[in-house]
Symmetry: C2
Subunit: 189 residues, 2 copies
DNA sequence: TGCCAACGATGACAAAAGTCGATGTTTTAG
DNA sequence: CTAAAACATCGACTTTTGTCATCGTTGGCA
């Protein structure tokens, strides 16, 4: 499983990385069932995960247990509640496996040590942060204007595989529309 | 004007900062009129701005010239199109002054040099990035669920000064609702 | 394997948001 | 200072979105 992460890092930072094995040695493989809570809002996020296989939901919920899904993240990417992970403050979001997953987890202490001691790993962190930021900005600019129908078309164009991979309920919550509306509009395409 | 930036940095990183004067020497004071375009989508963002005084709009527009405002940023904070600034790719967002402004601008070359040569400045960059990211995540999680009325109440609670400082049209675009709807709902509070 | 809970689709209706045109008011360049 | 443009509000109307109840299907777990 580590091999996937090794390849991922080499793809981004090139082959000439000192200490790559040292870096990789801090990651722990984790296998999960579906519906496992990895991060709970209110608690400190202790790990950054690299998804080798599977699919995660990043979401919040309010008093009435209404869920909003900020992101659905699949294999080959990083996932964490970065704000909490970085500061040690309570997380504002939850992360849940929506499939059985194979993850590589690195804890806060190891992460901090690596960022400080391995300059190349500091770059990895910056890349994760920048990618996450760009993703969020894109999402705001895209979704704020789109109607329900346009959001569905966006999904079909840019993340078509999600539509068959995860439940309609989840998709609707990710698109920010009502599940009944999603069902109706989808039928009319 | 530089004094404001000096204070801002000291507030965040403490007083024992090497090279603070060197860092500050790379910032150029800029005074602008209102309605000045600082960054245009399609072009590379060349500066990061610290707002000493005034107010900026970060927005996108589509083919039909519909504007979406992702953020309204006021004095005491940083503003840039970070993705473009970092990579040199064309910007996807515009930045415009909505008041006469006093800004401190640092260009890409100087910025890169400082990030590499002054470890403390690297921390400044990380703080900007993390704050921007947290801001975006918060915005997604907040606005995706709220109705038009709830968004207005949110504004009144968390950014009340904006309501009198900038135009209703701009506020509406920031909240992601139609300006007529904003006008009507606001009247009923 | 079989049962139950969760899921997905759909019709009827309610509520919210958007559109458009008209009108009076502010702003702002010249 | 003034004319033109942009802005804010409002009523009437349309469209979109949300809600609720129902019903058949699916799929996960004991």
């Amino acid at each position: 499983m580590i091999a996937i992460l090794r390849q991922h890092i080499i793809d981004r930072l090139g082959n000439d990385i000192d200490n790559l094995d040292l870096v990789l040695s801090h990651f722990e493989p984790v296998k999960t069932k579906r519906n496992q809570i990895l991060v709970a809002q209110g608690e400190v996020c202790q790990y950054v995960y690299f998804i080798a296989k599977g699919c995660l939901q990043v979401y919040t919920y309010d008093q009435e247990a209404n869920e909003t899904t900020r992101d659905i993240v699949i294999e080959g990417t990083w996932c964490s509640e970065l704000s909490s992970f970085g500061t040690g403050n309570p997380a504002t979001e939850n992360i849940r496996t929506i499939e059985p997953c194979e993850l590589l987890a690195i804890d806060r202490q190891s992460f901090k040590k690596l960022v400080e001691s391995v300059p190349q790993f500091d770059k990895v962190y910056k890349q994760i942060l920048e990618a996450s930021y760009n993703n969020s900005v894109y999402r705001i600019n895209t979704f704020m204007t789109l109607t329900a129908l346009e959001r569905i078309k966006w999904l079909m164009q840019f993340r078509p595989k999600l539509m068959t991979r995860v439940s309609s309920k989840l998709i609707a919550s990710y698109l920010g529309i009502n599940k009944d509306v999603y069902s109706r509009l989808k039928a009319k395409l």
